[in-house]
């Protein structure tokens, strides 16, 4: 893979802009990636445009800084996935890697952000920051899955912060820090208790403000949590990525 590598690590960014085309469909006026981050339009369904992130999977390495910005502007229906899991690996650079995701959803727009899991390999050090800003009538489905270590190996260091704002008001701000060097107790009875996969789904829909679902721990290690705002969080821990995905899907199904 082509990598723009400097002593300070690679910098790469991707930008996606989707907009309602006025005929019930979604146009993609901006679709650009550079370096190890590429974006491809794939076949959509109905009014929804589909975009695939390609090539982030062999990084980020220590010292790298990736940035992805996606916007579903007024009237757009956008779904973004990734071609494969993202693997955080140790780099020659002692510095940690950063991955910033900035998502924007306009009025009467919907973004489904459904990348594959992030795997924190032994010796890696990655900070992920995901920030979502929605207009009052924007809709969101966001999935975030973290797998700590490849099969049988201890995890690297991973810190991940997820912030969701609706009409300027913060409805969710959560940071997870785990792996070697994380503050003590992260794998204890309050944190992960030995589970090696952790994830969340965030659902934002204007109608959730008036009719929130009931909070419930619907399965072992998983819960549906109505937030203070038009949003719901499905949160889960599991022994592995496959079982995590099943729990998140089951939680989503309870929302109808």
């Amino acid at each position: 893979m082509d990598r723009v590598t400097t002593p300070a690590g690679a910098r790469a960014s991707a930008r996606i802009l989707a907009r309602g085309d006025g005929r019930g469909g979604t146009a993609l006026p901006v679709l650009e990636g550079e370096g190890p981050l590429a974006v491809r339009r794939t076949r959509g369904s109905g009014s929804e445009a589909h975009v695939m992130l390609v090539g982030a999977m062999s990084g980020p390495l220590g010292g790298d800084h990736f940035t992805v910005a996606a916007e579903a502007a007024e009237g757009a229906r956008l779904r973004v996935g990734s071609a494969a899991a993202t693997l955080a690996l140790p780099g020659q650079d002692k510095a940690g890697a950063r991955y910033d995701v900035r998502l924007t959803v306009g009025d009467d727009a919907e973004l489904r952000w459904l990348p594959e899991q992030l795997i924190s390999a032994y010796g890696s050090d990655l900070s992920v920051a995901t920030r979502v800003d929605l207009a009052a009538t924007g809709r969101l489905l966001l999935r975030e899955e973290q797998v700590l270590g490849r099969s049988g190996e201890p995890p690297g260091r991973l810190s991940s912060r997820l912030t969701v704002r609706v009409a300027g008001r913060c409805v969710l701000d959560q940071e997870l820090a785990c792996g070697s060097g994380a503050p003590g107790g992260w794998d204890g009875p309050a944190g992960l208790a030995g589970h090696r996969a952790v994830g969340q789904l965030v659902v934002v829909r204007p109608e959730l403000a008036a009719e929130p679902p009931r909070a419930s721990a619907f399965a072992e290690g998983a819960a549906v949590l109505p937030l203070a705002g038009p949003a719901v969080l499905v949160t889960a821990v599991a022994p592995d990525g496959l079982r995590l995905r099943r729990l998140l899907e089951a939680g989503l199904a309870t929302l109808g």
């Binding site: 912030t163 204890g188 309050a190 944190g191 937030l227 969080l233």
Partner: protein, 224 residues
């Protein structure tokens, strides 16, 4: 500042209702995750560095004069479990009652009027510290310590754990408590100039999940 006021506020017998809450320990005991002093210590350490650090920074920021309304919204965003939001507000309401009786202050009156159902407890803790003539570090210490002493006391009852062992756990957490309290004041000071978004948001997945499981039990010893 009065050191004695700090002792009054930090005393587990201060009548603010904290004894009815286990801080998630009851759910963790039922799940088989806390079985002895060692697992209690890991539980408390994890809690301290996540929701404990968040609570301590909210308390420090409130003690420094950051707007309680902003802090209460920040606390909501950092508490995805509705059961934990309800518990935090109930504890906040009880603390504001006890604090107004103990250290009458117009800021506490204003807070009680603004949040009739209770503000998040750490925010109330910060304002209580102000009313008692204490500082942000005192507020952070009270909040952080209460976040681990509650579970430790609860586990003595839940598992018939030796109280000496539970107290030993708290003593071993002292260096972590010092660090968390200091960091909380730093975060609180940053919030004064940069707004509440800079406050930490560290979360503990099993505390959130366990709180909802616990809230659905028909019979339980503790309220949360």
């Amino acid at each position: 500042m009065s050191r004695a006021a700090l002792l009054v506020l930090a005393d587990g017998r201060f009548p603010a209702g904290g004894h009815a809450h286990s801080g998630g320990a009851e759910a963790a005991v039922r799940a088989g995750h806390i079985t002895d002093a060692a697992s209690l210590e890991e539980f408390c350490r994890g809690r301290l560095h996540t929701s404990g650090a968040v609570a301590a920074s909210l308390a420090a920021a409130a003690a420094l004069g950051v707007d309680p309304g902003e802090l209460d919204l920040a606390a909501d965003a950092r508490t995805p479990s509705p059961a934990l939001r309800v518990a935090a507000r109930r504890l906040g309401r009880q603390l504001v009652r006890a604090a107004r009786a103990t250290w009458p202050h117009r800021e506490l009156d204003a807070l009680a009027g603004r949040f009739p159902k209770g503000a998040h407890q750490p925010v109330v803790m910060g304002l209580t510290a102000r009313a008692a003539g204490l500082g942000p570090l005192d507020a952070a210490y009270c909040s952080a310590y209460e976040g681990v002493s509650g579970p430790a006391t609860a586990v003595v009852r839940l598992l018939s754990l030796d109280p000496f062992d539970a107290t030993g756990v708290l003593a071993r957490l002292a260096p972590d408590l010092d660090r968390v309290a200091r960091d909380a004041v730093e975060a609180g000071r940053a919030a004064v100039t940069e707004g509440v978004d800079v406050l930490p948001a560290r979360s503990a997945p099993l505390l959130e999940i366990g709180a909802e499981a616990h809230a659905a039990w028909a019979v339980r010893l503790f309220a949360s």
